[in-house]
Symmetry: D2
């Protein structure tokens, strides 16, 4: 029985986290905060929680932040935190997509590690610029493709890498929801508004919001890159300005083939991220909505139900588990794993040691760039009758 958060460390304090975005009315910011807190490696100490100063102040008070570290703008925060002796160890950027790039750049230039939500940016130019800045700075830049934090996703990746499936032939991935099946953006939903607004969401809707997760998951588990794709994006809800569904065929660099479906109009689907990988020797299946189970089907043998932290769980997945098998972990724990891993990476730097190798699975700015290139390729393919476009 392991408790991920209690891994021995010598650093005798929690790391200090700042946050940009995530004020009152936001959704994902609160998730980041729980995730940061869960394994007790972080303390939230500063924030520029809203671009509206009054909302920023009230949100800071909600979270018991010291008033002097409740900032009106990320620029202000980056500058003033950089000057403090007890400056934040990292910043979490949880704004709508269009605001990621400028904020990330400001903190990189202030010498502060970055944890950024996905998709990384709304244009490829911004994404590649961020990647270059991150490299030059030598700072840690994590992108919260949070599904990579699930123990059995990591187990799946390790099984593929370890050859348990043989050469991969097929990757079938899908991410289906139904919350945008009607014109929700006209009903006052802040979440729906910005996600269907090209100015804030970027050139794609469902493809950017959830397609990127599916794409990231496929590449993460397959340990391979999508070389090219043929895509058709659809907008089913009348008057919507971005896609709410997309169909794609994938060609991987290794020669594997795949399909990707993402939808926000599939009635009855809540958060149906599901992946199946088939190799010459075996198949794997994982479903985010029941994430404590990984189905492993060696060719010619009965399928096996591998349970998180149960029999058949490998050390990679055990390292990302807190509690015994049968005691379900879920979305927040998976998300927390990324924060815990980033903490380990930072602590290792502070302590002058190599980080726990498991912690290096956190997606980086390069994965963020891949996501933005995926969006761009999908949009271009769809504009050209689903022609094959390189990613």
């Amino acid at each position: 029985m392991t408790i991920a958060g209690s891994r021995t460390e010598t650093l005798n304090r929690r790391l200090r986290l700042g946050m940009v975005g995530g004020g009152r009315g936001a959704f994902i910011g609160a998730v980041h905060r729980i995730a940061a807190r869960l394994d007790d490696r972080w303390e939230l100490v500063a924030g520029a929680l809203s671009s509206d100063p009054e909302r920023a102040r009230l949100s800071g008070a909600d979270l018991l932040l010291p008033p002097e570290r409740t900032y009106d703008s990320f620029q202000d925060m980056a500058r003033r935190e950089a000057e403090r002796g007890d400056r934040i160890d990292a910043v979490a950027i949880v704004t709508p997509n269009h605001a990621h790039a400028a904020a990330a750049e400001a903190f990189l230039q202030a010498g502060i590690h970055v944890i950024c939500d996905k998709p990384l940016t709304t244009t490829r130019q911004e994404a590649e610029r961020l990647a270059q800045l991150a490299h030059e700075s030598g700072l840690i830049f994590a992108v919260t493709h949070n599904y990579t934090g699930y123990p059995l996703v990591r187990q799946a990746r390790a099984m593929v890498a370890g050859g348990e499936l043989g050469a991969i032939r097929l990757v079938q991935v899908e991410y289906a929801q139904d919350w945008l099946a009607t014109r929700v953006e006209d009903t006052g939903s802040k979440q729906a508004e910005w996600r269907t607004d090209p100015a804030r969401s970027g050139p794609a809707g469902a493809v950017g919001d959830i397609g990127t997760h599916a794409f990231n998951l496929a590449e993460f588990i397959a340990g391979d890159e999508v070389a090219s794709l043929a895509a058709e994006l659809h907008t089913f809800v009348e008057g919507r300005r971005l896609d709410d569904n997309a169909h794609m065929m994938l060609r991987f660099a290794s020669g594997a083939k795949g399909m990707l479906w993402c939808s926000q109009v599939a009635a009855g689907q809540e958060n149906g991220l599901r992946i199946r990988v088939y190799g010459e020797k075996a198949g794997l299946e994982w479903h985010q909505e029941n994430p404590n189970i990984l189905l492993f089907s060696p060719l010619g043998e009965p399928p096996r139900i591998i349970r998180r932290n149960g029999y058949g769980a490998n050390e990679v997945s055990r390292a990302a588990s807190r509690i015994p098998g049968g005691h379900p972990e879920g979305y927040l724990e998976g998300f927390a794993q990324l924060y815990t891993d980033v903490a380990e990476q930072i602590a290792a730097r502070i302590e002058g040691r190599a980080p726990d190798s498991f912690s290096l699975q956190v997606p980086t700015v390069e994965h963020g760039v891949r996501g933005v290139r995926f969006i761009e390729a999908a949009v271009r393919s769809s504009q050209d009758e689903a022609a094959w476009i390189d990613v």
Copy 2:
């Protein structure tokens, strides 16, 4: 509680069935025989069970056929049965694909109703010629897309037709198996041999064998036609002469979109035919391997588990059920339903009355033609970098 086979009828005999193909070593012939027998509407009385005379004779004896109705060839059988007073009411053609056309033509010309396995033929020309012959003859020509016989598939079709899903947006269909994940055709498997042989199987492998079922099911439930498709066919097993996997995007005539995946190399999949249909108001999901359940998800309400012949089952599905909910029916019962429906159609003609309307759901030669056109379109699209091809 209904017993499909005991529907009241006035015809005071069982119908007489002949069979072409299905001798020793065959698989699907035996399935057809069970299907014909199950509801007690048919009696097998004649056969040209193999193109090898000795095997034909032995196979006839196995099945207790009278020697004088155990024929050496389908030509002989068609001719001699046509002359008998107690001639067969219908013939079942269950040979490999390439032999369907000639046999079907012979029986049509002999004035005998035809039940033919799928895909209808190996070329579009043959298929269209058969359709024309069937029309001119006025005879019944059923094609055993057997999955249309499952009660809950029929329920799904009726729910779509009745508007319970609203306008259809998406049809996601897949049919995945793993039995050809290795070079089985070299191990003496008769089933694998002919299915991977272009001369007997036609221009496609998995696409023809199971893709056609998926395609038929999608059109059957959606009550719509696929207008065009973009496809990529793959051959993963080295040295195989036909495709063993295919990915497709679909555009329906109504504007609905879809994806189709068929595979015979997906480790862990036995006979994974699965369909999901999403409309403006609700979604449906059905999986052949657990066919007694239909998941119905009205937008904004908890998903409902409709069980065969259970609460929520409509009259269409009840009419195709034999036993109460909770007592699972399966593949053979679904297949039997087609035989029972054809019997009803024939009996109605004999008795000079209209057939039970439920019986008219059996796929016809037109559906067979659609299947052949689907194969042709998929092959052509794949040869042209997944260009969109009309079906």
Copy 3:
């Protein structure tokens, strides 16, 4: 791929079956007829289908029986069939429970093999008398505890017998339905009427109707006998004359322990027969409503999903399968297996050879007696505050 019904045999005719009960309005009779027909080993040629002569005649005509073999009474049928050269090989007795004993006795005395529905009789005296008559006659006497015909039930039994679970510790069995959750017997349901009528059903309701199946299944798979039980029977529906629910604790002869729950008032349960067996080395789980899967959990390893006729299926279950894995078989096929096995036993006698050993798994009159003793013990225990009573 196996087709159970086509097992090679030298007998060059179908066996002849007669039926007592099962006329118009009955349920289980039609199931028996499909079961007998499915594998093509039987032909129904005679019947005393109702105690009402007119209904008997009409029912015989429905089934295309020759008028001269459509009898008014089982006595008449037993006597006259015994005199025929082409007499029936076996009789199926499918009346309400109270009428089993007399009919079975008549046919035994006529020298005709018996296939009798369960529970065998309504009193222990009758049951034991039948067992004695059967023994003295040397005739085959099968009792249709049909769940023993499911391939994976037989696999489970063989796995226990083969030591794959180690010494058995626990048997948890349940059979839950909801069709009697209200006063259905007052609504004209013939099925509900006799099942809740002590005169026709015997001393127990749910316990006799479905508890006996659960009990039989537990003993069948465990390969063990229940030594004693402590039971409480309940009648939840006001005015009902027999139990509609029962709770029991079981002590097996081997020292294993168990629980048995049967209910006909559990809202949402259709035909929920489910068994779990735990041994020192592994556990097994099977659910009748999804019968093509057997969950096998070796201690310390991931649970394995054994699928009917799929990987991991043993020869016992393969012998009882008709079609490949992934093509679901169900209730009718399981029921058919008993008929096919009885046919094999009879054919072997006619042909003077040993029967296929798999065919000997059919429950016999002894299992019928066990069922009646189980009912009696349960009723007595419940009358005595759930005291432990020997079975």
Copy 4:
């Protein structure tokens, strides 16, 4: 979309938590700490984490506790905390069972609210004395029957209370594990050692450890009390000193009936707590290992899948949810809910207002007493051939 932890409050600080037990090598202590932290209502500031002083000190340092609040004994801690101005608001007692009573008493007498693990004590006398002390003190005394914190468990309870099932007839509950299927207590497992040691665990093993959870869950959801039970306890693993399995029949005060099975030797079961409740109008089913789903089966309608925070989720379950449906929550979130609810109760006292009514669902010392009485009744019944014993 709700985030439970961010419910508006006026108290402008986190509550201060102390802990007794839970030092290095312990399991449940770490769970309590995550649970306390998750919704950001608590800060751990003090501890007597081990009865071994050195281990207590090291454990405190692991958790970044101030050295002056890292105590050698709970007595010391209770006394000294009571004297501080910033004293702890509550203490969490997470020692083995036998040590609960003395610690709880010490803190009650120090005027500090108590959160105590289950079973409350090892004797009924101690339990009742604690209840009396708690009442006299007026302090909050929560018992961590953590499964009551799951949103859909609360939904189930509310649905029963609201009459959606009609009068309850049946409660079938089970809690099955396999981790004690072999002699684990001899392998150095600290968890197994004390749980199988009568001196530390009390008079029962599985019954106390997990049977109490099942019992509590049954009473919690049914909104009813078990009036009496008939039980048989078993010890399957040779040499074990306490039961590792138990079978029980239950009679509820309302007239409902039930069964309870708990086991720690059921191969393949990880943490299989499952409950089914059947009323006159509907049934409910919930399984802890897939806790984001509640199956609701109104009689005569298709079963509905109610998903946490999804369609059909009621306000009670929404209030206990952090994230949208489809984003699974699990064991830690359920556990956290109890801490959040206790925080709300304490905050309300501090602020002189009524607590949010949802927070009052936390089990109290009375439920702890029920659990101890349940254990005692089960042991006595088993000693007397499963006689009915009042609880």
